[in-house]
Symmetry: C2
DNA sequence: ACAAAAGTGTTGCGATTACACCCATGG
DNA sequence: CCATGGGTGTAATCGCAACACTTTTGT
């Protein structure tokens, strides 16, 4: 598993909140864990090698987990309360799995976005990893529930500025898909007609001639996001509020 | 200086980008430093005690530096590249001043806002600390120039959402002051009439009957920011963009 | 009287909201 | 022919951008 020659630093870790979208729910990728208190779940994460960048550590974890490379990755917070790891079964689990005298760990949290279909089709997820809806999370290790919630808040903020949601959608998508995605991220319903207008005004969202097939209702048109056109058309924003 | 009994952790530090505003420029608080390469400047920062929260460490540094408490404090990034401290004079300075075998340090960056008038009147700054305009920074230690720039970007983002700028202004301020402040933060000129309209529409900006005195032109009215009224009137925003 | 900054209104445009019905398909 | 979700238009309002002159004070 570990190709690096150098030592792990037992004070520093990264944890990744990996978001996915099934067309219905916003989901997070979690790793199953066995402790003295039974089965629970944790975020994908690891200690950092001495020679390794934080971002590099996150990339290593994600690539190992999903087989995918060049994933979207955004550092959003550090969690470092001295007592963030204090439950006996958490401490024992850490000492057993790492073999290190672990005490306080400061973790840098990243959020990432993967297309669930890609991770399924082209690359099996590592054993023990599974998707869970953010609104119904299982029992989580450490302070990982708090980290996931902070990650969703960070995602909500990011959605004000940048077209990052396309990272979660299939290459070609319907308007309903992207609207539902925004609704689950913002946790708020949106008006369909107004959403369409706003979306179709964007010059970098291109309609295909292709439509859904085999659906028991009027088939929806597919669209694609053209990142090059986006980069050409983007302009600086100087918004402010009091 | 250090009231804590417990040990410093030589892997972890916090650095604070402390913003101030003189009515003209956006400024940053820097600490003078003497190295084998001569005099330069660094951000206020320190290692973290084993028993201490990250936020707590930042508060300790700021209180010690300015004498002020309950300052605005916002964690915005972690800097952890393995080679972020590599210049020989930086390494030597660290070893001399800490007495520790320092290698890689991961630092959590906070930004903070202080009213320069308060820090002057009521509390002398610690010796060696001084204000520098962000657009004309002196030679800086480590990667601190990069951290300051990231801090200003974070401040620009924050200004979309929250009325944090009042932390930088005197308790009573003129419209020109706050407009100039927004201009230096956003690094972009704003239209005065439109700015006034937007500001005066906010129900939590209250005019005083008091005006400037002794200025060689029409004296400007003073306003205050009423945080309670703000909290009552704030509503959730579900903005999005592609 | 002059210099210097404060303060003031209108118009056009683009964006956002609210809202209800017909369309195309599979079963 | 029915159930299901896709797809469409308009009117009212709001917020933002552009733009130039008068007012008040100290010197």
């Amino acid at each position: 598993m570990h190709e690096h020659e150098h030592a792990l630093n037992p004070h520093l870790s990264v944890d990744c909140v990996v978001f996915g979208f099934t067309g219905e729910y916003l989901k997070v990728l979690l790793i199953e864990r066995n402790t003295t208190r039974g089965k629970d779940y944790k975020l994908p994460g690891d200690f950092i090698y001495d020679t390794e960048d934080l971002q590099g550590a996150a990339e290593r974890i994600l690539t190992h987990l999903t087989g995918l490379e060049d994933l979207f990755l955004h550092q959003f917070a550090v969690f470092g309360r001295p007592d963030r790891i204090r439950a006996p079964h958490d401490l024992q689990w850490l000492r057993e799995t790492t073999g290190l005298p672990v005490n306080r760990i400061v973790t840098t949290a990243f959020f990432s976005m993967v297309r669930i279909d890609e991770s399924k089709r082209e690359n099996a997820l590592r054993a023990g990893a599974s998707w869970h809806p953010v609104h119904a999370l299982p029992t989580l290790a450490f302070d990982h529930r708090e980290i996931i919630q902070a990650g969703q808040k960070a995602l909500q903020k990011e959605v004000h500025f940048a077209p990052i949601c396309f990272e979660l959608l299939p290459w070609k998508f319907t308007i309903r898909q992207i609207q539902t995605l925004y609704e689950v991220i913002l946790d708020h319903p949106l008006d369909n007609r107004n959403f369409r207008k706003k979306l179709l005004k964007a010059p970098y969202i291109l309609p295909l001639n292709e439509r859904q097939a085999g659906v028991p209702h009027k088939p929806a048109r597919f669209y694609i996001f053209d990142r090059d056109l986006y980069e050409q058309n983007r302009l600086e924003i100087f918004e402010y509020n009091f």
